[in-house]
Symmetry: C3
Subunit: 477 residues, 3 copies
């Protein structure tokens, strides 16, 4: 604000509280926004516990410790990978401020120069996302993969492959997303005039994790005995339903950090006060309704097909609904969210069947859930993003920014950007992780021996069984 | 604020920050209050995981998946029921703004017209409560109820029966609560001059769920073999103590959303800044102390009676203490909170014995916990609500509003309102749910066959056992 | 702010918004800071669930209910002990405002006079810490201690021993910490000119709990059969790896309340707005990186030594890293945090070996984890506290306060204060708890009989086994 100091003889200026308090207000906003990011990060971090319980419950008891240690280490190895390299490749800016490019970040490694409360909080929030992306893979390659191979892909994904995708879609220099600056290093026009809209990462996080898992499941090969010689599938049910449900609920809870948290600020946007919480609250509602739609649709589908009230399928339906809404959670109208969830439940069901037909063995259905439903979620935005919501959420990036989904009168250009995003992310992850798994296979570092697999990885590699419970006599019927 | 613009030649007005910032301050308050509601809603939602673990651990292992799928679907079916109907019946206002009545809401179905950040957040917060109310029932009818019947009562309760109670007690048009407007559609004088005070829902949520469960347990009938022909009770212990404890702790955590969150705003009340957090913090403290009092009292009681340090009884005591303080958490002095919890532990103990004597089989003691302790909690307010706290918490509703519990010099009118609330809620829920369960019974849709029950519902209806663990030899003693 | 009212004819004063809104702003700050404390308290409270799951999974299945009930009651008994006595001994001020001393608090018992939102929230936050300190012990004395003895030490620790340490280190009258007032009752100069710096309690909470556990484990004696006559150690593995992992993740989550929450305020410090969230966010980052460093180091160490990918060791490494960073989380540079975690993993590894050599049986490694790593964490600050961070975090206490770790040019005086703190806390806790356990032993109230221990405490004292699961045939290999 500019005004004529002389006109007021300086007196009013002296007393004008804005002069003194604007710093204080800015500090208040920064503290509140940082805290919002941190709280969201904690919830997203807790998804690691959800993945761990879901995975543990879904494998056979003889491989429980094997998958649990992977989940714990995804958080640990990922934290170091993200610190030293990942964040810098995703969001890093060269210290001189020039030389940014639209492909990969280059700066801020080991948090150098990350010093304001919002920046530090953003660092942690993004770390929690990277841990989620990494953990998705462990389900796909469960029960037969060497631990050394896991350590390798976990680091590779978290330190390089995933950060590059983040840079494309979420950084201010990325060529794929809507946040690209108009000018300057790494700047330019938006893809199809809109950029791919992926609010919380159906594509950037889940599709990335899912494709990585798919490559792993395919290249590692199925578990011994999973497919009979005639192609029939031998069921290998998980060993504990309560753990699956616990994992599902924890993941659902964590999604309230994942999706609403992706608004990135509670009270200010680009340092201006705004009604951010309207977007945040709407996002929480669509997230809830899509999860619900997914669960109910999975229940109906499985009862219709098999006359079973299938708990695991309902849990997977809930999670599919959550993955599916993640890209469009802030731009979908509430009435449409249950439909998004229901369609996601169909996507996971049929893509799981497809993988089995292809004799690709994904014990957790992680590729169908995160890969296929993730792609569906990105597509969904192309059809169902409401123009007013898109402007509200992404409109600060560019003046007059108002793309829309086809259903809301969009001309299909946004849909094109979404499809482009799916294709490019899939190609990038399939290539890099495919090459990685192939090399590991050639080096004989990828797969455990049949003996180890039969005995169980816990006994053969992890020092003993996961459970040591005394026998209890069967209760009288 | 009114002042004479001319007097200052317009200069000061121009510089006066209030003119410019009042919108910004209001937006800040709205964002903060919405976020407080959302954070609370997430905690309350997480109670679904608590109920799921508590229920799973408390049933026999052969019915684990059956009760887990109910808990997952309570969140899902409930989310849709609340979206399409429940919220509208509870808080809905006709779009024309007239025609409100004190019995039931009529508007805002499918969130039509719910558009500000606080309204959307309130929607989600209230959804999480409805899911809790619904889930309570599943414990009472566990291990022998048809899944179809469950789907029916879950929807009926969440879409209609519970929202009506909410409308009575918490909406601005409800005849039972303290928030009723003085004039206008649905307005009028307060019941007994005070209305029933049920801050976070000992009556509105827990009594409702508990009575519904009681009707279910009674009409479905006891589990096969639960009562011997001579009336003796055969113990049917739950199958996993760790799950019970995990569920208890998650529920306790969730209660910090349930009770403190019921202040509904962190920084502003009726758009005026206020010291809300004093009420919120005091509520968190009384909630803690009542839980503690309940746990310790249950420990002492059970050791005195049976010389057993009874883990499950202590968990139930904690939860009873939480239910008991829910109505009065904001109006009880901290010193009295442990007493509230201890009395709640007595209530659940003796009401459980009563049900067994009546040969009503409630596997989770859900009716004693939520029904009887819920009623006790509503009563507690009639005795122990401190006048100053009542004014602080509810006083914005009406000028000169200062009812008090009998112990604090109240004249008994508040107590009368509380009793009236208990009677009416009980009658309403018992009638509607009783009729529902009776009809289902007549249609033979209520109860599984003895064969299915004996085999276990997991095997007979849910595609197989919940656990598939390998045998471990007994460890040497 | 002082200005000449006459100069402006009173008009500007009238319109000056600060005059009217400063109360409102202060109320806003207070609400926000109280809510930050409450949210942190809820996370720390949830650590009780983490301890419960970790402990349950780490003992033999026959003693599961025994350790679970201890964990539940730590929260309950602790809540009452803290309410009536503990808080008053830790932070209490005499109602007349004089007579404070630097050894123990004396006032505010039963929350008398605790009435502002920040004070009430602080009360609850500190309660959650006391519960954590108390619970640590139960792991050390697991599987062979009488329940009555547990009730005794739990109350004694929470009501007296721990609050005294808190008073020393964190109250404004404590002789040990940096917050001591310069003058007045209980005031004086700081120990070694700096006081012991223990931001979130590596020493005050964890060392206290760990030493208490060590005394217990030593005086109760090892579990029957733990050590062979030739001194060899018989492994007694825990019964459920998923519970251990779940507990670890919940504890990690809770640490985001424990460490960042210890900044105690989000937006204001000593009623002045400040960039608190920068400290809070940095603390969350160092906490994460130390946990990660601990987990990775434990993995490498155990694979190097034993060629096992040891899940339990990795979990313990993570927790050791969390304990180790707790004192220095706000004053450690991020790059150093993984090193802190890795060193903590070494500390727990070698101190565990030491205890086994001494034939002290600590089933949960609670003394190595909380005691030894806690002491290490306090030491770490003496070496690695960055001067600028120390000033930022603790500088408001005194003008020109700028101690530093040896690595950052400190003169060793801070290191001396840290060592002094370790010695005094250890001596205080070892003396008081040692005396307590000795007396209980003399009175024959400390240890269960060999028969009870062999049968399992669940059967002998808690009314039956923790699990009642049906047999499942071993799956074909």
């Amino acid at each position: 604000m500019v005004y004529d100091k002389n006109e007021t003889d300086g007196r009013i200026l002296e007393l004008d509280p804005r002069a003194e308090t604007s710093d204080e207000i800015q500090s208040l906003y920064n503290n509140l926004d940082a805290n919002f990011l941190l709280s969201s990060a904690y919830l997203v971090f807790f998804m690691q516990a959800g993945f761990a319980m879901l995975c543990a419950g879904s494998v056979r008891s003889k491989n429980t410790k094997n998958i649990l240690i992977k989940n714990v280490l995804d958080a640990c190895v990922g934290a170091l990978a993200w610190f030293y390299l990942g964040y810098g490749f995703a969001f890093g800016k060269p210290s001189k401020g020039t030389g940014m490019n639209s492909f990969i970040g280059n700066g801020n490694f080991a948090m150098k120069g990350v010093s304001t409360q919002k920046d530090i909080a953003m660092y942690l929030f993004q770390w929690s996302f990277s841990a989620a992306a990494t953990t998705i893979v462990s389900g796909s390659v469960a029960e037969r993969t060497k631990f050394e191979a896991y350590l390798g892909y976990s680091f590779f994904l978290c330190a390089f492959v995933y950060p590059v995708v983040v840079h494309w879609g979420w950084s201010s220099a990325g060529w794929l997303g809507p946040w690209r600056a108009a000018t300057g290093d790494g700047g330019g026009s938006l893809l199809a005039g809109s950029g791919m809209l992926d609010f919380a990462g159906s594509g950037i996080v889940h599709l990335t994790g899912g494709v990585a898992g798919l490559m792993g499941a395919w290249i590692v090969g199925p578990r011994t005995g999973r497919f009979a010689s005639d192609g029939r599938v031998n069921p290998m049910p998980g060993h504990s339903a309560p753990l699956v449900v616990l994992g599902t609920f924890i993941l659902w809870l964590g999604w309230y950090g994942f999706n609403p948290g992706s608004q990135l600020a509670l009270v200010a946007f680009e340092a201006e006060a705004s009604d951010n919480a309207r977007v945040i609250a709407r996002t929480a509602v669509t997230t809830t309704l899509s999860a619900a739609g997914g669960g109910v649709a999975a229940m109906v589908l499985n009862y219709t097909l098999y006359h079973v009230w299938d708990l695991i399928a309902v849990c997977n339906g809930v999670l599919a609904g959550l993955v599916g809404i993640t890209a469009g959670c802030s731009t979908t109208e509430p009435w449409a969210a249950p439909i998004c969830g229901a369609l996601s439940a169909l996507v996971i069901h049929f893509s799981s069947k497809l993988l089995l037909k292809l004799q690709i063995d994904d014990p957790l259905e992680a590729a169908p859930m995160h890969g296929f439903c993730g792609a569906f979620g990105v597509l969904w935005v192309g059809f169902m993003a409401k123009k007013e919501y898109v402007s509200e959420v992404f409109g600060t990036a560019r003046n007059g920014y108002e793309p829309a989904g086809v259903f809301y009168g969009g001309n299909g250009k946004l849909l094109g950007a979404q499809i482009c995003g799916i294709v490019v992310i899939t190609a990038w992850v399939a290539t890099t992780l495919g090459a990685f798994f192939m090399v590991m296979k050639k080096l004989n570092l990828l797969r455990t021996t049949v003996e180890e697999e039969t005995l169980g990885l816990d006994e053969s590699k992890h020092g003993g069984k996961a459970y040591s419970m005394e026998l209890v006599a069967p209760e009288p019927a």
